[in-house]
């Protein structure tokens, strides 16, 4: 059990560092890093605080702490994946609408250029 909690702590710290470095290098935008940071900190706190983990376990009615930790982690990451799916879907729609608009505007610009040539 302690070993599992230690592994979770190490993973949480690695995740935390990874996110901070990524934000610093502008690989990930601040607004999208918040969810990851919250998840990493939550996992870190739970893995270092046995009483808190036991409280959560009792509240959820789960038989043991490792399962609680696993389910919490899985739940948090599922929610995050869902959130990112929503964001990606919006981005894709916006991207397609923009690409269509660019194509149509380029078409109009070319038409104006052709018109100018004809007049000249």
């Amino acid at each position: 059990m302690d070993r599992l909690l230690n592994v979770t702590t190490v993973l949480s710290v690695i995740l935390l560092l990874l996110i901070l470095i990524s934000v610093r290098r502008a690989h990930i935008r601040v607004e999208y890093s918040v969810t990851w940071l919250v998840a990493a900190v939550a996992m870190l706190v739970l893995s270092r605080s046995r009483p808190l983990l036991d409280t959560v376990r009792n509240l959820a009615g789960l038989p043991d702490s490792p399962l609680t930790l696993f389910l919490l982690g899985a739940g948090v990451f599922l929610l995050m994946f869902f959130r990112f799916s929503v964001i990606i879907s919006h981005l894709r729609d916006d991207n397609i609408a923009l690409a269509q608009r660019v194509a149509i505007l380029e078409y109009h610009i070319q038409d104006l250029k052709d018109h100018e040539k004809q007049e000249a």
Binding site: I96, A99, Q100, V102, A103, I104, E106, D111
Partner: protein, 251 residues
């Protein structure tokens, strides 16, 4: 520049992706059988000489900046047609499977029936058109699914040979399915109480290139389209409470 020349102006749009082998003959055939009509090829970022071939054959070309897929391309064509003021748009595939000789029939049906969409159908009458086993099974399946949703039978729901009027253009420029659009587009229109008709058309075998829907992708296609259909049904459920369309609205 393409411009509508009269209130009943028709624009032919041809979405194309790497169709250099067929696009020129499709454009020439359209000009031959529907003289005086403008043709707009929407190029989906082809890596071959589709654009040059289409222009050489006399088509206007709308190149999109990156690969959008079939629905994104068709919608770009609809948006441009709407902005330019076209009353009717007929979509023909760029692989030569649709026979441009059938365009006048689709156009005439669009004008005379007043319905928002006309589908060039392989199966309204037996006309010798052949489809593969998997596709044939898919078409039968979607006929069954769509029958209660549309309130009338549709013989060829996967046909890309489709004509629309300006009312449908107005809807499609803001709401058009991006992947595998044919079936979902029917539901989008039906949810707005628009009507569709089918006219018999002949589909020819593809002469160049390969279909984007392989046997392996068929299962994904069915799941994707099925989900899209039901999402559209749920999205516009308030239509049930709308008043019936009056005859003067249809004019």
């Amino acid at each position: 520049m393409i411009r509508p020349v009269n209130p009943d102006s028709l624009l032919i749009i041809i979405p194309a992706f790497n169709e250099e082998g067929a696009i020129a003959s499709v454009v020439r055939e359209v000009h031959q059988f529907v003289p005086g009509v403008e043709v707009l090829v929407i190029d989906d970022c082809s890596t071959d000489s589709t654009i040059a071939a289409a222009r050489a054959a006399g088509a206007h070309v709308l190149p999109v900046p990156h690969h959008l897929g079939l629905g994104g391309c068709v919608q770009a064509g609809y948006k441009l047609a709407w902005e330019l003021g076209y009353s009717y748009v007929i979509r023909v595939d760029g692989d030569g499977q649709h026979d441009p000789r059938d365009i006048p029939r689709v156009f005439e049906k669009l004008r005379s029936s007043g319905c928002e969409m006309v589908i060039g159908s392989r199966f309204v009458t037996a006309n010798g058109s052949r489809t593969g086993t998997v596709r044939s099974f898919g078409i039968r399946f979607f006929r069954l699914v769509l029958r209660p949703i549309l309130g009338k039978p549709v013989h060829d729901p996967t046909s890309g040979f489709v004509g629309v009027n300006r009312r449908a253009l107005n809807v499609f420029r803001s709401s058009f399915p991006l992947d595998y659009p044919e079936i979902e587009a029917l539901v989008v229109l039906q949810r707005r109480r628009f009507r569709f008709e089918e006219v018999p058309c002949k589909m020819r075998p593809r002469t160049t290139g390969r279909s984007s829907i392989t046997a392996l992708k068929s299962l994904y296609y069915v799941v994707h389209v099925l989900l899209g259909v039901f999402v559209n049904v749920l999205k516009f459920e308030r239509r049930l409470h709308l008043p019936q369309r009056r005859p003067e609205e249809e004019k």
